[in-house]
């Protein structure tokens, strides 16, 4: 062969980047061509020089850098644990609004029910007056006793005057001297 290989091809040959056929051809050529062998040796020398230079200035792994990396990865691990915790509860978090809505509905609904079924904490006296008045009217006049004393009971709403017996001592207490028109009077 009267041709020579260029430095690019020899560089590829040096790095084992050629196809087997070309590689074999160059190998054979280098055995007989002084010029190409010189060029190839120069490529080899450049690589060796670079490796020697790198070896000469090779640095040890700094111990403080090891510590920095450990700290950074530990922080990263902490952050990922939190992220994992959130990820593992993604389904639970998704149901949280629905659960909150149910809880609120129960709370307000329960209050509503409680308000409907339980007596009011404080009942105005007029409620008793109206109720007792109605009850009084439903009772025959001959049996009424407390109706007359109604006005006197305004400050004692807990006393059910409509059902007081005419001889009940309480009548004398709350309306002394009144003529209740009872059968016994």
């Amino acid at each position: 062969m009267d041709r020579h290989y260029d430095s690019e091809t020899l560089t590829d040959y040096l790095h084992g980047a050629l196809d087997p056929e070309t590689d074999a051809a160059i190998f054979a050529h280098l055995g007989v061509c002084e010029a190409c062998r010189t060029a190839y040796n120069a490529e080899v020398a450049l690589g060796e020089a670079l490796r020697n230079a790198a070896q000469g200035e090779a640095l040890d792994f700094p111990t403080d850098l090891v510590a920095r990396i450990r700290l950074a990865t530990r922080e990263e691990a902490g952050a990922s644990k939190i992220a994992r915790w959130f990820r593992s509860r993604r389904v639970a978090w998704a149901t949280l609004p629905a659960a909150a809505a149910v809880a609120l509905a129960l709370w307000f609904g329960g209050n509503e029910l409680r308000q409907q079924s339980a007596p009011p904490a404080e009942i105005d006296a007029s409620y008793y007056f109206e109720a007792h008045d109605a009850q009084t009217r439903s009772i025959p006049e001959s049996e009424r006793t407390g109706a007359i004393a109604f006005a006197a009971l305004s400050d004692r709403p807990h006393v059910d005057a409509a059902y007081l017996h005419p001889n009940d001592p309480l009548l004398g207490e709350i309306a002394p001297g009144l003529d209740l028109g009872g059968p016994g009077n």
Binding site: L50, A53, V66, I69
Partner: protein, 168 residues
């Protein structure tokens, strides 16, 4: 970590050319390794994986600092033969190595573009294959070949210049 840490740190140092940046780069790379641990493919080279992470981080850092990264080189990398008897000049590298002048070679290496420097480090210092380098750098084998050739030519020029300066 010590096993790969030293290699990663030295690789980062050769890329950046200074220790503080190499430290930051190595630390960031190991945090990425930790974060992306599950994405590592068993059976592949762990060191190549770290080099790839370092290379990407270094590229990001260059972009961040300069705003513009080095332009891709054309892929005119087909092996070429030339006819005739072009004289192959005696390469100055041989005599350069003999005179133990490795420091100027390191300076010459630092003067290469980041793209070229990466490829030279991976090909000639780490002695990785073009395929491995292409995977690490994230480019085609042709681009690796092209960058390596240009880088080696550039190194030769710089070394020749330096040796001529010393001769004077």
């Amino acid at each position: 970590m010590a096993e790969y840490g030293r290699a990663a740190y030295n690789f980062a140092y050769r890329l950046t050319g200074n220790e503080p940046d190499a430290r930051d780069l190595t630390q960031d790379a190991f945090v990425r390794v930790f974060r992306a641990w599950k994405s590592f493919q068993p059976g592949t080279s762990f060191l190549s994986w770290i080099y790839r992470i370092i290379t990407n981080l270094y590229r990001d850092e260059l972009r961040r600092r300069k705003g513009v990264f080095q332009q891709e080189l054309p892929e005119d990398n087909a092996p070429q033969e030339y006819g005739g008897a072009r004289p192959l000049a005696v390469d100055p590298i041989g005599s350069y190595v003999e005179s133990q002048l490795s420091a100027p070679l390191s300076v010459a290496l630092s003067r290469l573009s980041p793209d070229q420097r990466q490829v030279v480090i991976l090909a000639d210092i780490e002695e990785l294959s073009y395929q491995e380098i292409a995977e690490i750098v994230g480019c085609s084998i042709g681009t690796v070949r092209s960058r390596l050739h240009r880088a080696r030519n550039q190194l030769r020029r710089l070394v020749t210049k330096a040796s001529h300066r010393e001769d004077r």
